[in-house]
């Protein structure tokens, strides 16, 4: 009997959540740009997942007999690069890398940022120390901070993930802290405390769920930054090492051939542009959908 009651209660909660989700989805779908962005992201994710089935060449398979084939060549509809590797396979493989690096670094960054933000916002005595460290991290321009971290750790994709996640921490921490500061003064938190709920419970069960809206927006926007930064670092030779099919590294390798075979550099450039654009517009749309106050401004 109690199990049934619990299940019922849960489904009530779900229903409530569902209606909220539907509302968000509706307002998101009203925004045409977001719809385009979502479609592109969905396509990229699908190509990444099914990459082995939609490419007929390996991304590292060289064919020195047919290098720098143009777009629309037989068997290589996006052409080949300077080592005769199929551009389509490399772009698709690059999507896998970009999405993975983006997800990992944003995930790690959010994790670190949320913990620091919750602690700083909730405990006054930790606030000073944590926020000063965050300010210190903010003092560096983002890409410079990432380059500094990579200079210390060495060049590799894993270190790029670490660098970008460290770079994401301060922004996230500040957002969470702000939310915590406003939420912890609400009466229901006071009520929880008077009932004797532990700090842990209050922080993670009652305060954190109320921070999700800004976090989702931040995370989506951050995906765009993370993918762009990974490419930028790889372009500079600090990230993925050749022959890795990473978009930024592909542009770096292709720029020598801008005159005779511009597609080698331009195609990965377009891939980066589309992905970053999509994450940004979806982020924008999400912010509008999640924040009712935004309507006032429009």
């Amino acid at each position: 009997m109690p199990a049934v009651a619990k299940a019922k209660k849960k489904s009530d909660g779900e229903k409530k959540n569902n209606s909220r989700l539907v509302e968000i989805a509706k307002s998101l779908l009203k925004n045409k740009l977001s719809v385009i962005g979502l479609t592109i992201i969905a396509l990229i994710v699908l190509t990444a997942i099914f990459s082995p089935f939609i490419t007929s060449y390996g991304p590292y398979e060289q064919n020195l007999g047919s290098t720098k084939l143009g777009i629309g060549s037989e068997g290589h509809f996006l052409g080949t690069d300077n080592y005769g590797r199929d551009m389509w396979s490399r772009i698709v493989h690059g999507a896998v890398i970009s999405l993975l690096v983006g997800l990992c670094s944003v995930g790690l960054g959010l994790l670190g940022g949320v913990i620091l933000g919750l602690l700083a916002g909730y405990y006054r005595n930790l606030d000073g120390i944590i926020m000063r460290i965050v300010d210190l991290l903010f003092a560096f321009p983002g890409i410079l901070l990432a380059m500094l971290i990579i200079a210390m750790l060495g060049t590799s994709l894993v270190n790029v993930v670490i660098a970008i996640s460290i770079w994401s921490i301060p922004g996230c921490a500040r957002i969470v802290r702000g939310s915590v500061l406003s939420i912890k003064k609400q009466e229901y938190i006071l009520a929880m405390r008077s009932v004797g709920a532990s700090d842990w419970r209050i922080l993670f069960k009652h305060i954190l769920p109320n921070c999700t809206a800004p976090l989702i927006v931040f995370g989506t926007m951050r995906m765009a930054t993370a993918i762009l930064s990974t490419s930028a670092l790889s372009y500079l030779g600090l990230g993925a090492q050749p022959p890795t099919a990473e978009w930024g590294a592909m542009i770096a390798a292709g720029q020598d051939f801008m005159w005779e075979a511009p597609h080698i550099a331009i195609i990965p450039g377009i891939a980066i542009m589309l992905t970053v654009f999509s994450f940004n517009v979806v982020g924008d749309g999400l912010r509008d959908a999640l924040d009712p106050n935004m309507d006032v401004n429009h």
């Binding site: 590292y60 060289q62 020195l64 300077n82 080592y83 090492q241 050749p242």
Partner: protein, 514 residues
């Protein structure tokens, strides 16, 4: 943005563009002379600035390009035959194997008025050998024991042991004769003074070096009046400048850019076989690279021909370590290498239990090293070796490679004396492990052959010894030769008489413009 604002902005942008294009066309138009007289200035674009302008204190091709026009050597290499010929010297004789008596040309003066004589030669060579000065190419005259002035125009070099490559060494740009007065009183590394056809005028560091014609040159003065060496870090920018006429010539065109240069109107391209050799080197002190079977398998597995096909004609496939344009080459060596045979390579890798062996290819991110690394990495994967690539910027790469902190790497040697002893001794003789012998190759039989090639004066016999040493090294594979170089020059069609040597050097003395 409303329409009017947009139009305003568009107008502003177009106006700006017009102003900019007006400025630049004026700039390039100013160079042509109105009355149809041929221009007498020439500008060369280089990707980096010279390190210094003293032949004693530098050892890099960018600096040599400048010093080659300002200073002269006692002997010079004939670009056709590669045999040394007298330049500042008149003649020479060798009364015995350890003595070189060199007669000098008379009535030559340095740009500062100092007379060129035996004292100047003695001074220059002693400076080159002086341990306190630490000249980077001191090794050129390392076997020379004493330098004596016999009379005003005769100098006598005595060696401890016979020194075969003496004339090649004396033809090297870093053995050029400097003005003793200028060196004692000033800094010839900043303000060079030689006997050459061009006089130093000005050096704006990081920007350009200007030379003027030497009006009192001991031969006919050059037809070119002003020479400018301009620093243009980006090759593609340099090519655009060549196209617009801002520079008249560039050299060492990278293979990825050559097709663009060849398609330019009014630009001629000169390509000829060079002395440079590029190779894949093993670190012989590490496992499994000390196993000859492993190295042979790699040699069988690397397909140089497919690599060379990617160089757009700027490379020659020949697996001999001593290249066809270098003294000591014998055609027999061409067929002595491990020819591409992936099946055999795979078999050898399997038989010796190296399947799936992890190796790291260290590659510098310049020239064609990255290209070699990517192609070799893919070819090694095919024969069952898991190779990954580590890239480095040039300076840290050189440090890492010199310390032997690598497994396999790609390097090149310019062979600027075009003498095989000067290739095998620094790069593969066990004396030079820790300095220029990056592969840390040590083989006493090979060492002996190379030493003999250096101490024999009979040139035919030297050639035989070098050939023997070459074959031995090719058999033991401390290197897998990737390609031999092709030297290039791209110049405006108004330039005449510019010729590039197999070593990549060029002299502006015979050049004129029409």
């Amino acid at each position: 943005m409303n329409k009017r604002k947009f139009l305003g902005l568009a107008f502003f942008l177009v106006a700006g563009l017009l102003v900019i294009s007006g400025c630049s066309s004026e700039g390039s138009g100013g160079e042509s002379t109105g009355d149809g007289e041929a221009p007498t200035e020439i500008t060369y674009a280089t990707t980096s600035d010279a390190a210094g302008l003293s032949p004693i204190d530098t050892n890099d091709s960018v600096s040599s390009n400048v010093t080659y026009q300002v200073y002269e050597t006692l002997f010079t290499q004939n670009p056709e035959t590669l045999e040394p010929e007298p330049l500042l010297a008149e003649s020479y004789e060798t009364p015995d194997d350890n003595t070189w008596v060199i007669k000098l040309k008379e009535d030559i003066t340095f740009h500062d008025g100092t007379p060129f004589n035996a004292e100047a030669v003695k001074y220059t060579f002693e400076q080159l050998k002086d341990p306190d000065r630490a000249a980077p190419r001191a090794s050129l005259l390392e076997p020379v024991e004493s330098i004596e002035v016999q009379d005003e125009y005769t100098v006598v070099l005595k060696t401890e042991e016979p020194y075969g490559p003496m004339l090649a060494a004396l033809s090297h740009t870093n053995a050029a004769i400097v003005s003793p007065t200028a060196d004692k009183e000033g800094n010839i590394n900043k303000e060079p003074v030689g006997t050459g056809p061009f006089v130093f005028e000005e050096w704006v560091e990081g920007d350009q070096i200007t030379l003027k014609r030497n009006e009192d040159y001991w031969r006919e003065p050059s037809e070119i009046e002003t020479v400018t060496f301009k620093v243009v870090p980006e090759t593609s920018t340099a090519i655009s400048m060549l196209e617009t006429g801002e520079v008249q010539f560039i050299d060492a065109v990278p293979s990825d850019h050559i097709s663009r240069v060849e398609s330019l109107n009014g630009v001629e391209v000169q390509k000829s076989e060079g002395t440079r050799v590029s190779y894949l080197g093993f670190n012989m002190e590490k496992e499994p690279f000390n196993d000859p079977e492993f190295r042979q398998a790699v040699a069988y597995g690397v397909n140089q021909e497919s690599y060379v096909s990617q160089l757009n004609g700027l490379g020659i496939h020949n697996e001999s370590i001593i290249g066809p344009k270098v003294f000591g080459y014998n055609e027999e060596a061409t067929s002595a290498a491990y020819e591409y045979d992936p099946e055999k390579a795979k078999q050898m890798i399997q038989d010796n239990g190296y399947e799936g062996q992890e190796v790291t290819l260290l590659a510098a991110n310049r020239d064609n090293y990255m290209k070699m690394a990517e192609i070799v990495q893919s070819q090694l994967t095919e024969i069952g070796i898991n190779a990954s690539i580590e890239t480095m910027e040039w300076a840290s790469f050189l440090d890492t490679a010199r310390q032997g902190d690598y497994e396999m790497t790609f390097l090149g040697w310019a062979n600027s004396t075009a003498d095989g002893s000067e290739l095998l001794y620094p790069n593969l003789h066990s004396d030079n492990i820790g300095s220029s012998n990056y592969s840390r190759y040590s083989n006493s039989e090979f060492d002996n052959l190379v030493e003999e090639s250096r101490t024999i004066v009979d040139q035919e016999l030297r050639k035989e010894k070098l050939h023997e040493a070459n074959l031995l090294a090719m058999e033991k594979v401390p290197w897998v030769v990737m390609n031999h170089g092709v030297v290039t020059l791209a110049y405006d069609e108004s330039v005449e008489g510019l010729v590039v040597d197999p070593t990549g050097m060029w002299s502006l003395y015979p050049v004129s413009r029409k």
